[in-house]
């Protein structure tokens, strides 16, 4: 089974998360800028005179499609690298895990598991899959 991870994280944690994922062999991802709020509720900005409250604040959404067997390790890596301090803080974000019907790699036409494999990735390191060049 293939899964999609959508991680909503702090903008300033993107580099830490990318490095954390690279360290365990997650090679492919894309990111987009999103705005939203959860429990943190928003932030206060400076206006012309005094301050004002903004309820939607900028976040990063990280999208990763991967094999089910790699989900737990990946989620742990994201949690570890995206959390503020040891205890974490409101606004650190959320991770959503969704089922994925199918993946097709445009270059080769490969489908499914093979389409999300890269040389040197998490599966290859664990000897779980063939390497595509």
């Amino acid at each position: 089974m293939l899964r999609k991870i959508e991680a909503i994280i702090r903008e300033d944690k993107l580099n830490d998360v990318k490095e954390g994922l690279k360290a365990i062999g997650i090679m492919g991802m894309n990111v987009c800028d999103v705005r939203g709020h959860g429990r943190q509720g928003g932030i206060v900005l400076s206006g012309r005179s005094g301050t004002y409250q903004v309820d939607l604040l900028p976040k990063i959404q990280l999208n990763i499609v991967l094999s089910e067997q790699n989900v737990d390790e990946t989620v742990q890596a994201i949690v570890k690298s995206a959390r503020s301090g040891v205890a974490g803080e409101a606004g650190d974000g959320l991770i959503f895990i969704l089922p994925v019907e199918e993946v097709v790699r445009i270059r080769t036409g490969e489908r499914g598991h093979e389409a999300v494999m890269y040389p040197g990735d998490i599966d290859e390191r664990k000897g779980r899959g063939k390497t595509k060049s």
């Binding site: 206060v44 900005l45 400076s46 206006g47 012309r48 005179s49 005094g50 301050t51 004002y52 409250q53 903004v54 309820d55």
Partner: protein, 408 residues
């Protein structure tokens, strides 16, 4: 008369004229940065249009209503319709060493920017057609007479001895109180005040502020109508007031949280507006006080306006109207013949009567501009409507009024 032309004065006034023209694009970007991204082209147009609209109105009849031969202290006669007789020789009454045509052109730039200032009150919701009619009517019924009263030879406030060096009353109080009246007539933007309406491009506002500050050297420095010591003093008082107001604004903003960039830019403009009426009559040290005191006045006036849930959207009243009210009164305190022998002494130089004259000028300008603007706006509201439809407002005026989008 031809040999009365001084080439130094003429050269400076040509430059000053260009500097004041540049303030209208500066203002357009100052305002444009503070609206939402769907209304940036509309907001720019609301300012830029005056370079075209008043560029024609002033030539045809605006100048003569303002500076034509006086009729009863109220209005100028029609001698200069179409700039007839306004040529290369100096005018008998204004700018004895520069071509009359240069004086008239320089004054045109003031007539251009003043109604543009008002547009901050009704951005993001005004019907463009209504706006054009209002603007032409306002220029004719408010600016031209007021300009005559204050600056024309024989104008009744000028005869009273009102000190307004570069437009505290004619430009900033008139624009500020007209903005207040118009905001009351048109009502708030949809969603105000619950939905935060954030500035979409503060760098535009900061850029506009820079253009305004530079342009203001022409606005105030040029109002000496000559390249002389009064012009230099006006330039320095202008710089000093802007600097002082910006520093105080930064501190106020810091005490409320962080030293805001938008706040700093606003403080600069407030300092510039405040010193305008006094710039050619007071010392640089007086300008320091004028700018420093203007900042808290406008800063807390914005807060007051917000607490009243009044959508005078870009705070023309607080920033221009009130700052220049203070500045015009301050001229009655700090003015000294030592700076400008053609001016007067203020209260601190032994002439308390000057403060009274200033007060008369301020109150007259406030009342006249507020009442005429409110009546005009109400008439237009009852006839063709002031505000766009809800859907047009939601889509944004760039698309609904102009059929364009700024960022594709």
């Amino acid at each position: 008369m031809e040999n009365a032309i001084n080439s130094g004065d003429t050269a400076w006034m040509l430059v000053a004229c260009a500097l004041v023209l540049m303030m209208t694009p500066g203002l357009a970007f100052f305002y444009g940065g503070m609206v939402r991204r769907k209304n940036i082209l509309s907001t720019l147009t609301l300012s830029y249009i005056f370079m075209a609209l008043i560029g024609v109105q002033w030539l045809i009849y605006g100048y003569t209503l303002s500076f034509g031969p006086d009729i009863a202290g109220i209005i100028g006669g029609l001698d200069f319709v179409g700039f007839k007789g306004v040529g290369a020789t100096p005018s008998a009454a204004y700018g004895a060493t520069i071509p009359h045509q240069l004086f008239a052109s320089y004054q045109m730039m003031f007539a251009v920017i003043t109604p543009a200032l008002i547009t901050g009150a009704f951005v993001e919701r005004i019907r463009f057609k209504t706006f054009l009619l209002f603007s032409l009517a306002w220029a004719t019924l408010v600016y031209d007479p007021l300009c005559h009263w204050v600056w024309a030879k024989g104008g009744w406030l000028a005869e009273k001895g009102l000190l307004d060096f570069a437009g505290g009353t004619v430009v900033h109080i008139a624009a500020g109180f007209s903005a207040l009246a118009f905001a009351l007539a048109i009502g708030p933007r949809r969603g105000f005040p619950k939905t935060p309406m954030e500035p979409h491009n503060i760098p535009f506002t900061v850029l506009g502020t820079g253009l305004l500050w530079v342009g203001w050297f022409g606005f105030n420095g040029g109002s000496a109508l000559a390249a002389n010591g009064v012009a230099v003093n006006a330039l320095l008082t202008t710089n000093t007031s802007a600097a002082a107001a910006a520093l105080v604004w930064m501190v106020l903003s810091w005490l409320d949280g962080r030293p805001s960039t938008l706040g700093l830019a606003t403080g600069m403009v407030v300092g510039l507006a405040a010193v305008t009426p006094a710039s050619g009559f007071v010392t640089p040290m007086a300008a320091l006080v004028i700018g420093a005191a203007a900042a808290p006045l406008s800063y807390y006036a914005i807060r007051f306006r917000q607490r009243r849930d009044l959508d005078e959207s870009l705070d023309v009243w607080a920033c221009h109207g009130l700052a220049s009210t203070w500045g015009t009164l301050a001229a009655g305190l700090f003015a000294t013949l030592g700076v400008n022998s053609a001016g007067a002494n203020g209260l601190f130089y032994g002439n308390p009567g000057q403060l009274w004259t200033q007060l008369v000028g301020v109150v007259t300008t406030m009342a006249y501009s507020f009442v005429v603007t409110y009546v005009l706006a109400k008439l237009l509201d009852l006839s063709i409507g002031l505000k766009v439809t809800t859907q047009e407002e939601e889509v944004g005026l760039d698309i609904s009024a102009h059929g364009e989008r700024a960022y594709s």
